[in-house]
């Protein structure tokens, strides 16, 4: 079977070769060149950055398109010993929560910041699903800059989706639960009475990116899945897909699939802002962590917050409306014009497309089918623009190009279907290998999609790659969508589980003021060592602080004596380099934490317990120069009560040097 396919392929390729020298036009040359389309020559840059969620790795990965080359895995919610993330003293507070230090999470959806409905290249937001958190990554440093925990939530899945100017990033709870400000110790089967949904509207400071939970909407106890903001004409609205309108609390696989229709919840957030201004919000006692990284001190702070403002979406009229949507919708996607809202019911046979104009009219005319716990339910037909009939099995998620077409993924039938948003006709379909989840078109959730490529992120790869034991890689598949027909041009493995991803043109990120080094002059870490002359070892009881510098290719000091068994030793290493791409590493034998990876101009600290007397080598772990292997030193540990004094040096025990006058 496979051999046959290859013979056919060879025949095609050979025919291209044979006829290749004849004058040709685009239509004849398009077929055979799929591999060439994704080929980026050595030394050449890719055209797009692709930010791909790392799923259960908790991290965010960065690939190039169209090559599929992996550039970086940015540690976000999970400790990463490679980069010292969550191990260095400075980074530990980033993973603090109201539950204490949580070194792992499940990262699903990246969201690039926007200005005027277009990607602006400043920040990317990602959600932590399990211990509900929201993170902001600075795209100048590719480093996690801020993490905020979300109270009253459980499973931060409907997140992080943003408004047109990133006024808000939303975080809708996947599980409804008894709110944190009530007693959660209730029988599970009191779900209908005691369980509530909360959607956080996290405001983003336009200049600094700083996050703040502006308010939460309290909703009936249902599950929120995904969301999209309105744009252009529908700016000011937000749309959330909801499931479990049955309010089941067990065997949801069956019990939450009973109703013919669940909902898309339309939220008028401008209206919510009015209520907030009028003081209709209720301040509730909760606990959540707010963690901020500072690029000057090279340290994080974690603050436990104790209050959040809640607006009751059932009591306060005109904020929320439910639109019936067939069978457990997942995707809830708004087209670039802001007029069409596509619901993807996982178990539905049709793809409903709602019209924003019709929805507004229906609300004005009160064309409701009663209410759901106080929230009006708009009549399905009154909000519906039309249905895409028999599109495929298991629709999940839709992205858009700039030419009036939508691309919807189908998990069960493993395919992507291209359809015309205006006439709802299916125009093309391609297989994926296999079980596609989300799709990404660069800028596909904005007013101005960049088009050109579409990437499918697959849950299962089965026979596509070399086997690696019971667990196989997940994958992404890249399609050229510049023509009428979609054409697969590359298949590449990904880390974790790629849920959603976003992409932006390389120029937008490269030219955003990329940071190459941290200025040593501006380093305000309390343990910075600005020059070898300042390096020292200071004992404070059983704590010893080593103020150390690194430069190609030695540490100062690199010989340390007088450490005693049981001492807590803090190595504060300052990288004195001021050149791009010259981090130094630091590792010491027996450290039960991790290495440090210190960027040029940065100070980073690792805590090390001197467990027993002896000689403990330390060295640089990141190849830095031809003499990197020589970048090493010793720490001598003496028994408790010994009288070896603290001493330290690099090179010969130095004579003080004076400038000759």
């Amino acid at each position: 079977m496979k051999t046959n396919k290859f013979l056919i392929l060879i025949t095609i390729v050979m025919s291209v070769v044979v006829f290749g020298c004849k004058p040709k036009n685009a239509s004849t040359s398009i077929k055979g060149d799929s591999t060439v389309k994704s080929y980026v020559a050595p030394g050449q840059y890719d055209e797009f950055y692709n930010f791909v969620s790392g799923g259960f790795s908790g991290q965010l990965s960065v690939y190039g398109l169209p090559s599929g080359r992996l550039f970086r895995v940015i540690p976000v919610f999970s400790a990463d010993p490679e980069k010292g993330w969550g191990y260095s003293e400075e980074s530990k507070p980033m993973l603090n929560t109201s539950h204490g230090f949580v070194p792992w999470d499940d990262c699903h959806h990246p969201e690039l910041s926007q200005t005027n409905g277009e990607v602006d290249g400043k920040w990317i937001f990602v959600n932590g699903n399990n211990t509900p958190r929201l993170a902001r990554i600075d795209l100048k440093t590719f480093k996690t800059a801020e993490i905020i925990e979300l109270p009253n939530s459980a499973g931060n899945h409907s997140s992080p989706f943003g408004t047109e100017n990133s006024e808000y990033i939303v975080a809708g709870t996947r599980f409804s639960v008894p709110p944190d400000y009530t007693n959660g110790d209730v029988p599970i089967d009191t779900y209908k009475k005691n369980f509530k949904g909360h959607i956080s509207f996290v405001s983003i400071d336009k200049n600094s990116g700083a996050m703040n939970i502006a308010f939460q909407l309290r909703t009936p106890g249902i599950d929120f899945d995904l969301a999209r903001c309105g744009r252009a004409k529908s700016h000011g609205w937000f749309f959330f897909s909801c499931y479990n309108s049955e309010q089941a609390n067990t065997l949801l696989e069956v019990n939450a699939s009973q109703n013919d229709k669940d909902f898309i919840m339309a939220v008028n957030w401008k209206k919510a802002e009015e209520y907030l201004k009028e003081g209709k919000g209720v301040k509730e006692k909760v606990k959540y962590a707010h963690n901020v990284w500072d690029d000057k001190t090279h340290s994080a702070t974690s603050t436990i917050m104790d209050e959040v403002t809640v607006l009751d979406a059932s009591a306060l009229k005109d904020i929320c409306y439910f639109i019936p949507c067939p069978k457990s919708p997942h995707g809830c996607d708004v087209d670039p014009t802001g007029e069409y809202i596509v619901g993807s019911g996982k178990l539905a046979a049709v793809l409903p497309v709602f019209s924003f104009d019709k929805l507004m009219k229906a609300i004005e005319n009160k064309a409701f089918d009663g209410d759901y716990e106080g929230i009006p339910v708009v009549k399905y037909e009154e909000a519906l623009y039309g249905e895409v009939k028999k599109p495929g099995l298991g629709p999940l998620h839709t992205e858009f190009d700039g030419n009036g077409f939508a691309y919807t993924s189908f998990f069960v039938s493993s395919e992507v279907v291209k359809w015309n948003v205006k006439d709802l006709a299916v125009v093309d379909r391609v297989p994926t290998f296999y079980s596609v989840g989300h799709l990404c078109v660069p800028g596909g959730n904005t007013r101005k999609p960049f088009g050109k490529y579409m990437i499918a992120y697959n849950k299962i790869t089965k026979d596509r790659y070399l086997p690696t034991g019971p667990e196989l890689t997940q994958s992404a598949q890249l399609y050229d969508i510049s023509g009428e027909k979609m054409q697969m041009i590359l298949d590449f493995p990904t880390i974790g589980e790629p849920h959603y991803a976003q992409a932006a043109p390389a120029s937008l990120i490269m030219n955003n003021g990329q940071l190459k080094i941290y200025s040593i002059e501006e380093n305000q870490n309390p343990y910075v060592t600005k020059g070898e002359a300042e390096s020292k070892v200071v004992r404070e009881g059983n704590k010893v602080h080593v103020y150390m510098t690194s430069v190609r290719s030695h540490f100062a000091p690199d010989n340390i004596e007088g450490i005693k068994e049981g001492d807590e030793v803090y190595f504060h290493v300052t990288n004195l380099e001021q050149d791009w791409d010259v981090p130094h590493g630091f590792a010491i034998k027996g450290a039960n934490t991790a290495e440090l990876l210190i960027m040029p101009g940065e100070t980073s600290t690792v805590k090390w317990i001197a467990e027993k007397p002896g000689m403990f080598p330390m060295y640089c772990t990141d190849f830095c120069s031809a003499l990197h292997q020589e970048m090493q030193g010793y720490v001598r540990v003496s028994p408790k009560g010994s009288n070896v004094p603290i001493s330290f040096h690099v090179g010969k025990a130095p004579e003080p040097e004076k400038v000759t006058q």
Binding site: K2, F6, L9, I10, V13, M14, V16, V17, V18, G20, C21, K24, G32, D33, T35, V36, K37, S38, Y39, V40, A41, G43, Q44, Y45, D46, E47, P66, A506, S507, M510, I517, S519, I520, E521, K530, G531, E532, A533, E534, T549, V551, R552, S553, H554, A556, L576, E577, Q578, D579, W580, V582, S625, A626, L627, G651, E657, V659, T660, Q661
Partner: protein, 160 residues
């Protein structure tokens, strides 16, 4: 299987390149972004080095400027003296003693603000690299920093 794929690719490229003069048939690499070109080795002047400074735009007073030299010493302690001693002894790089008589002032200023292109071209720096084996890093000095360091080097060489 991989061998087959490779064969296909090779045949394909062979087919493309076979078309010689027809530029349109060259494999199109999608990206529009060019990587940095390697520095040109044209009219390199070993007395001036390569960079912003020349004998025209850099003139020194005969006498030492003490405040500049002091500022230079502070920066040197953070960014330079990990690798350079103030004597003529080599540490990671050569000692600084006598550097202001071995090199022109603008060569020094160019080198410490623009080391990489100069290491790539300057015959004496290449010889030095064979001894030290560590390329002098770019320490992101501002023009003022560099000028102050030069003044500190002059002080170190006995200028008053």
């Amino acid at each position: 299987m991989q061998a087959l794929k490779l064969f296909i690719l090779m045949t394909f490229f062979a087919g493309l390149t076979a078309c010689g003069g027809n530029k349109d048939s060259q494999p199109k690499t999608a990206p529009g972004v060019q990587t940095e070109a390697s520095p040109s080795t044209g009219n390199y002047d070993p007395n001036r080095g390569e960079g912003k400074f020349s004998s025209e735009n850099l003139t020194l007073d005969a006498a030492l400027n003490d405040s500049m030299a002091d500022a230079g010493e502070k920066i040197a302690n953070v960014k330079c003296t990990s690798c350079h001693k103030l004597t003529d002894e080599k540490l990671v790089g050569p000692g600084w003693k006598g550097v202001t008589s071995r090199r022109t002032p603008h060569w020094i200023m160019n080198f410490i603000t623009n080391p990489d292109p100069m290491i790539n071209q300057d015959p004496e720096l290449q010889a030095q690299l064979e001894l030290c084996l560590v390329r002098m890093p770019n320490q992101s000095l501002t023009e003022d920093d560099a000028r102050n360091i030069l003044e500190f080097m002059r002080k170190n060489d006995g200028i008053k």
